[in-house]
Symmetry: C3
Subunit: 311 residues, 3 copies
């Protein structure tokens, strides 16, 4: 593995999932692998799980970790050829090359604007690091993808499924703020690569990027879609077509115990209780969100391990 | 020890103080105890001593430390059953369970509002972590208590006293800002458990919570109270009865060299010079505030050691 | 070495440069030297290179590192004898002594006001730490000096020069914001101590402090000065005489490929492209700014090594 910016960077998914589950059983087995190697984590946005689990994963492998909130440093310019006479003090060309000299791996979190679709889809920040850095880049959630979360989700489904081909549903939920499509995108791409019967359900107008959903079944009827589901992944996202817009806050799309029936409830967290999902679901043992969050550590750890082995 | 949220969690105080003093003599004796154990430190408020000394204490024991200012993550909801459609993105139920999976011990700093007495006294933040976390919780100063500071103070008095039963006075001081009662509360509780002759002095209206002061002598006459004191602990707090109010900024309550006489001067720091105490006191060798601050490391270290031994 | 607050603290410059280059070849050779030693890094201002490279240097030596942005703690008072009844909560006297007990070395970044020349020249923050701390102080850029950068620059020139006595030019450049003289000052002092033919060029009115430039040649004609230069160090600074003022933004002073001729281009970074220097320079192999930034690690490491050896 050269970088981990998309789930497409995983060469052997089933092996990677197995390896993550082995790391979970014995987190310190490779605690010498990262000796004298440094992970630099760069945050353009807030983080709880990603920050703590990725730092923990790196330390489990014996790496040193240096964390920087980007606003502790300088405003970065990402455009080529600009005359930098406004408020951007440093160009990504320098920043990425410089940080590469202090790091063996660089992890970056950079959310979308949700205003400028073309800019977000160009993954300007993440791809600029990829272009100019001389060490591997790990995506800790970018404008359009959250591949560490998707790997966590795959690990969790692997751990929990009792079927060869479980039925998995991705179900849109209402939310008061406009949220990125990143988690949904990576989850869809991951499900397309797992042995699952996968359907997406959401209100009309909330179709994800068709280049990502491809031939995945999309059904606007939530109730029908949820029938006999084994895993229901609930997530809000803002509209892709009316880019970044909130088209509906219809609370009928909130996940309830009744709708969930016997399925496991999945969510990437943070989750707004009684907006995205009712308390009764989160507080039941059908919710596996805490297990998902725990698997974040081992998703990050297996990725860092594969990157370190390839240095 | 299961948690350290109050000095009541210390099962054997004199042994704990002795153990801390031994750790001070040999800080790295147990540097293998914390191997592959992680302390997560969560700050809802500013910190200098607590932050650095607790991190140092954990590292002295060989622990990994991950620090998060809570505003680097998501606004937390602490109420049960709410519809989370406002600005709180994550519920403490999830946050505490999730962080528990990345941590072996969680330390939390969460100051009071000083507006809502009932809420502050419920210790909503600290107790929510205690309720939902699955690992030990350390109080790095909560709404009503600062038990690491109180243990530091006990260690310092133990180190310095030349008497079997020294006279200790807690003396209120003026301050331009409304401050919590937490330090005073924990100091009072600690003194009630030490072999000391203890009196509190403050202006009328500044009585601390009577459930904490219990039968401790309170005297509104500072001058009389300070007679023959061996240790004078100076601290401002806002009114408990007129909750969070500043009733007096009477500079006659500032500690001076003359008033101190031959006593040792104690303060938890930060301290406002020439408001709380005059320069002449802080710059004399009667001031033991730097030694107190140093003992913060070993107070934290003995607590972490006892928690680790009990994991 | 007792402190590193100025390049004057280096007792043997050529040996120190050689030692840094050896550390670069084998960064982990002294990874036991810093065991159980702690570097506390205090930031009053933004930082990217200094923050990451100094942390990395300390970890290469096996030190523990604790980082604090000063706004995570309390506003500090630096004046003596003040009545602290405004917004400063803690006096440097206490802060420096307290932090000294948690640290074996304290590194401080504190930029100038660029408003109050006398205050800036007194180096109030740095010198207060030096005065009250009981452990060595490292200057991570103060009001008037950036000695870690100057050492980096000397290392880089040493690595790259093919001549016994290369021609080095410090050339002022335009910039939209008023910047400190610190980098220029320390570079000038460093060049005065190296075997180089050194000239400073800048527009009239931009003369640096004559107590620093001493008898260094200053030439207001950029073009003439650049003739046959081997190394051109480009840097903006605000006026020293009209203290902190921007007297010129004359883009004719921007460094170009044509002006640079065959010289190496140096800059401390961050650099504003097409304001301070044109893209064509930075994107050519005459630019050595990335190598300079890499050497920050080994400049910091050799200084920390010398401080640790002297503890």
């Amino acid at each position: 593995m050269k970088n981990y910016t998309s789930i497409k960077d995983i060469s052997n998914l089933s092996e990677t999932i197995k390896e993550a589950i082995l790391l979970k059983m014995n987190p310190f087995e490779f605690s010498e692998l990262g000796k004298h190697k440094t992970l630099v984590m760069l945050f353009f946005n807030s983080s709880l799980r990603t920050r703590l689990s990725t730092e923990k994963a790196a330390k489990n492998l014996g790496m040193d970790v240096m964390i920087m909130n980007v606003n502790d440093a300088w405003d970065l310019e990402f455009e080529d050829g600009t005359i930098m006479n406004m408020n951007k003090s440093e160009h990504i060309k320098e920043a990425a090359q410089v940080i590469s000299q202090y790091a063996d791996v660089i992890a970056v979190r950079a959310f979308p604007t949700l205003k400028d679709k073309a800019k977000d889809e160009s993954e300007q920040i993440l791809n600029s690091f990829k272009k100019y850095a001389t060490v591997p880049i790990v995506n800790m959630e970018s404008a359009t993808a959250h591949p560490l979360q998707a790997l966590t989700d795959a690990i969790t489904i692997s751990e929990l499924t009792e079927k060869k081909r479980p039925k998995v549903v991705l179900s849109w939920a209402p939310h008061p703020k406009a949220l990125p499509q990143a988690v949904a995108n990576s989850f869809v791409e991951m499900m397309q690569n797992l042995e699952v019967d996968f359907t997406i359900t959401h209100p009309e107008g909330y179709d994800l990027n068709p280049e990502i959903t491809k031939n995945t079944t999309i059904n606007y009827n939530q109730e029908a879609t949820l029938q006999n589901a084994d895993f229901v992944y609930v997530k809000n996202w803002s509209s892709y077509n009316d880019y970044g817009e909130i088209l509906s806050e219809d609370e009928n799309w909130m996940m309830t115990k009744a709708k969930l029936d016997k399925a496991k409830f999945m969510h990437c967290l943070p989750v707004r209780r009684n907006v995205v999902v009712e308390d009764a679901v989160l507080d039941s043992n059908q919710s596996v969100v805490i297990q998902q969050a725990n698997n974040r550590t081992f998703a990050a750890q297996v990725i860092l391990k594969q990157l370190l082995e390839n240095l």
